[in-house]
Symmetry: C2
DNA sequence: ATTTTTTATTTGTCAGACATTTAATTGTAT
DNA sequence: ATACAATTAAATGTCTGACAAATAAAAAAT
C-alpha cells in the first residue's frame, strides 16, 4: 500500500483509490488500523491535509471509521447492512430523479424484484412479518389517512414482504428501489375507491404468503403493478389537463 | 443551504450532509455550480480545508464534480448509470466479503433477481444481445480455457441476459450482485463435465429468450442455480478435506 | 480582425500551528 | 500494595496563510 499510484487524478483521489483497493483485495482486514495521518503523509509523500481528504472520501463510503485520542486513528470498517442500505437508497434515489427514469420503468423494476422475493417469502415468512403486513393493511383502511401516510404504510408493507424472504442480499437491493420510488408514488392522489382496491390486493398478497402460495402472490403483485401504473398515468394526465386549462 | 447543521459529527460531515440534502431535495439542480470553497467557508463559518473535506466526501459519492480554473468550481453531478454501477459493485462486494454471507444466500439472491429479468428479456431481447450470449456460449466451449476466463465469460453472458430486459434500473441492481459474487465463483474448479452441463443450460436459456419463452428461461435458471450451488458445495468439501489431511 | 499577453479566479497542495479527545503513564495518598 | 488523581503522549479535528497550477476572460499588440 506504499506509493504505486495511478496518475491523472487528484492526489487525494489516488491515495483513496490505493487504500480502497487494499481493503477490497483483503490486504487490509476489518478493524485493522491504518497508519496515522502523519505516517500516511510521509509514506505517500504528500501533506497531511491531502491525506485527510483521501480519508474523508473513504469515510463517505463507510469504508473506514475514525476515532480520536491516544489509541485512535482510522480503522477499516465492517460495512453493515444498515450502511449499505443507506448508500443504496441515496444512489437509487438520485439515479431515478436525475436521469428521467419514467415511472413505468422504475415500477417495472420494483415489482419484478418483488415478485422474485414472493416464492421465498411464501416459504419462509415468520409470524412477526405477517403481523407487520396485517397491521399495515389495517392502517391503510383507516379513514382520514393522508396520502403521504398511506404511501409510507405501503412502503412498510412491501418491505415486510421482501424481508420475509429472509435473504439480506435481496432486502438490500429492494430497499433502494422501493425507497427511491416513494417520491414518485407520493405524487399520486389516492381516491377512496383506489385505496379499497389496493388494500384488497394487499390482503390477497398477505393471504398468499401466509398460505405458502408464492405463485398467487406473484400474480397479485403483477395486478398491483398494473393498477399502480394506471393510477400514475391518470395522475399525470390530470396534471397535464390542469396545466393546459 | 446556509448554516443549519446537525451537531455531534465532524464539521466536514455536517456540511457534506447539508449540501447532500440540498441536492437530494432538489434545491440544487444538476450542473448547478456551488459557491466557491472560500464562499462556502464563510457561509458555514469554517475554514477552507474543512469545506474541502466536505466536498471530497460528496465527490466520493459522485454527487459533485470539480473543475479548476477561472470559471471552475464544484458542480452538482448528474449521477450516471456508470457511476451508479461502480458504487453498487463496490458496496455489494464489500457487503458480501465482510459479512460472511454464504454462497448459497448470495447465489439465491442473484438467480432470484435474474429470473425476474427473464420474462422481460424474452419479450425485448435484441439481436445484438442474443449475439453476445451466443458468442459467450461458444467461448465457454473452447478447449484450454482457464477457470477464470470461464467465469468472466459467465459474467458477460449473464449481464447480456439481464440487459436484454432493457430496464436500466434492473441492470443496475443486478450488476452489483453478479460482480460481487464473481470472487466466490472463482473459487470453483470446473471439470470438463461441469462445463458441458453449464453450457447446455446456457444454450437452453438463450434459446428460450430468443423464442420469447420467459417461463422456460426461468426454469432453466433455476436448474442452473441448483447446479451452481452443488458445485460450490463440492468445492468447499474438497477444500475442507484438503485442509484436514 | 486576429493573435498574443496579461490578469483574475478558482481549485490543488503544502507547511505549521493549536485545540480536543483519549488512553496510558506517573505520582500520590491511603 | 492498591486506589485514585494528575500528568503526559498520541492521535484526530480545525485554523491560518501561503503558493502552484489551471483556465477563461480581458487587455494588448500585431
Amino acid at each position: 500500500m506504499e506509493t504505486e499510484l495511478k496518475p491523472d487524478r487528484d492526489l487525494s483521489a489516488q491515495i483513496a483509490g490505493a487504500i480502497r483497493d487494499a481493503i477490497i483485495s483483503g490486504q487490509l482486514i476489518v478493524d485493522e488500523r491504518l497508519p496515522s495521518e502523519a505516517e500516511l503523509a510521509e509514506n505517500f509523500g504528500v501533506s497531511r491535509p491531502t491525506v485527510r481528504e483521501a480519508l474523508k472520501r473513504l469515510a463517505a463510503q463507510s469504508l473506514i471509521r475514525t476515532q480520536r485520542g491516544a489509541t485512535g486513528g482510522a480503522f477499516v470498517n465492517r460495512l453493515s447492512y444498515g450502511d449499505a442500505y443507506g448508500q443504496q437508497i441515496t444512489t437509487s434515489t438520485l439515479l431515478l430523479s436525475m436521469n428521467d427514469v419514467d415511472f413505468a420503468t422504475a415500477c417495472e423494476a420494483r415489482f419484478a424484484l418483488e415478485r422474485a422475493c414472493a416464492p421465498l417469502a411464501a416459504a419462509r415468512r415468520t409470524p412477526d412479518q405477517m403481523a407487520t403486513m396485517r397491521a399495515e393493511i389495517f392502517r391503510q383502511g383507516q379513514a382520514g389517512l393522508s396520502d403521504e401516510s398511506f404511501c409510507a404504510s405501503d412502503v412498510t408493507f412491501h418491505r415486510a414482504l421482501v424481508d420475509s424472504a429472509h435473504n439480506p442480499v435481496l432486502s438490500y437491493n429492494l430497499a433502494g428501489v422501493i425507497e427511491a420510488i416513494q417520491p414518485l408514488m407520493n405524487m399520486i392522489t389516492y381516491s377512496a375507491r383506489d385505496r379499497t382496491e389496493i388494500i384488497a390486493l394487499h390482503s390477497t398478497i398477505a393471504d398468499s404468503i401466509e398460505a405458502g402460495d408464492g405463485a398467487c402472490a406473484e400474480q397479485t403483485l403483477d395486478a398491483l403493478q398494473k393498477y399502480t401504473i394506471r393510477l400514475a398515468r391518470d395522475a399525470r394526465n390530470a396534471c397535464g389537463r390542469r396545466s393546459v386549462s
